[in-house]
Amino acid sequence: MLVLALDTATPASSVALVKVTSDWMEGVVERRAVDPRAHGETLAPEIAEVLAEAGVGAGDLGAIVAGTGPGPFTGLRVGLATAASMGQALGIPTYGVCSLDALGRAAGPGLVLVATDARRREVYFATYEDGVRTFGPEVARPADVASIIAARTRRPEVVGESEIIEAATALAGAEGAREAAAIARAEATSRLRPDETLSHEKGKLHRGAGEGVLKYGEIFRLPVEEHLLYPPPAALVALAADRIRAGEPGEQLTPLYLRRPDAVEPAARKPVLT
């Protein structure tokens, strides 16, 4: 089955076509444009381009997976509105996946902090152990992230070795992911003194993913692999693969709104006399 995946939760507007079979998945085409203010303009042409490049039509799609954030709302809604309307028009299911999970999954084995830019000098963040979320997503100032995690980390779910490998194979192949993780881990230990790393219940976070970790590098001090700055849409598909394969009904795509709308109820009326 051909699956369209898209994510607009970060400055990147990413689109991928992924072929999902009963026991395998492979990326067909991927596109990414990085411009935080242009999702509304870039996303639809990107979709048209990946379809054309793959030589298929929208009618050939069997499902759509969209990153539901968290992320700056305006851009995030562009992706979800596009995915929802396409799903409705094509009569195919739409699935939502937390955008940070795509980064956590793509980061592969190890303890990973995922942080993306939430603007207003804050980050959206979550932690992952071997691709599975152990904390978050939350929004906070970068300097507060470490203490929030330390104070509130719950015991991570136990993950079987086979699942870790599946997480990795879906993306780069098991060997590649393991290698990448090993290199990153070695880098982390050589570059950072232990007291500088962020703590995690079961140990120290080894690596970071997401452009928020890079932007606030002075605070997080975690290595970030270049291909892990923005949520890879193919990883969204990996995370929705079970639902896609089972033919589960789609869901309404709702952004992960971690902030309330900025709105204040009006105070008592101001006098105009005097």
């Binding site: 509304g40 042409p45 048209a48 409705q88 952004p255 709105a263």
Partner: protein
Amino acid sequence: MPDEPLVLGIETSCDETGVGIVRGHTLLADALASSVEQHARFGGVVPEVASRAHLEAIVPTMQRALDEAKVTLADVDAIAVTSGPGLAGALLVGVAAAKGYALAADKPIYGVNHLAAHVAVDTLEHGPLPEPAVAMLVSGGHSSLLLVDDLTNGVTPLGATIDDAAGEAFDKVARLLGLGFPGGPIIDRTARDGDAGSIAFPRGLTAPKDLAAHRFDFSFSGLKTAVARFVEATERDGTPVPVADVSASFQEAVCDVLTTKAIDACLFNEVETLVIGGGVAANSRLRAMVTARAEKKGIRVRVPRPQLCTDNGAMVAALGSRLVAAGVAPSRLDLPADSAMPLTEVSVAG
């Protein structure tokens, strides 16, 4: 006529999620979801709240419109969507959804101007618009006088408000009187029990010295302040505020200015047709006053029924239908949401 274009229109520029479907000048469906109640306690539309509501409402509203018109997206000839002006985040939801529908169903897309759509919607009720015409658009977000030579090609702005929009003045005065939000319909109702001649409120930009520079412009902020002063002075005297009289006198002042300037614009441009749109065009006093005064000058007034005056998807579809019929090239898939889209741009060039 079956060979007339079947066009679908999507509107999300403010707090109404609208999907309309027309064939030629015939309205087939007009589905609407409003977030107005969520804004009431804030006394005005909160952009982020409106944007969230649009995303939730767009798919079900589309479904209702398709069901109502008994068509599918595959039957549609083109998809039109409000590209601007309006609230940026709200516009983006509609534009993104329209692109999704256009991509999935492989249809041409037209990003259209919200104000021109307010003019076009009248064709659904009264047939083709005689051109040239003068259009007066009055709502919570805009107050403009336009000269319409060819709606598919661009309109010429004659004047606009220099401060508050007419509908905004209704909202602010309703709040001042403790009547609630939105103010337009409430003041219309309250004013029926009042004496419109009881309080002499100012008519903005009608003095000879103002007319030189602002003949077709509006100003409602002085009027709003005058109402506030009157209310405070009354309260200070310890007498109850005559809410119905204040509503009626305020409404009379707004309608008087709008009517006077609209008719002057018709006479000045030697135009015999005046079309009125926007939420304030649903005001019963404005409709009666304009019709009566215009008739004496030989001007025909066209005002669509109230549901079509406020923001809706049908108006966008109506304009899209005109554009398709006129052979205007569709927009591209990268068309932007433009919160400050100029009136000279009726649709985003392809």
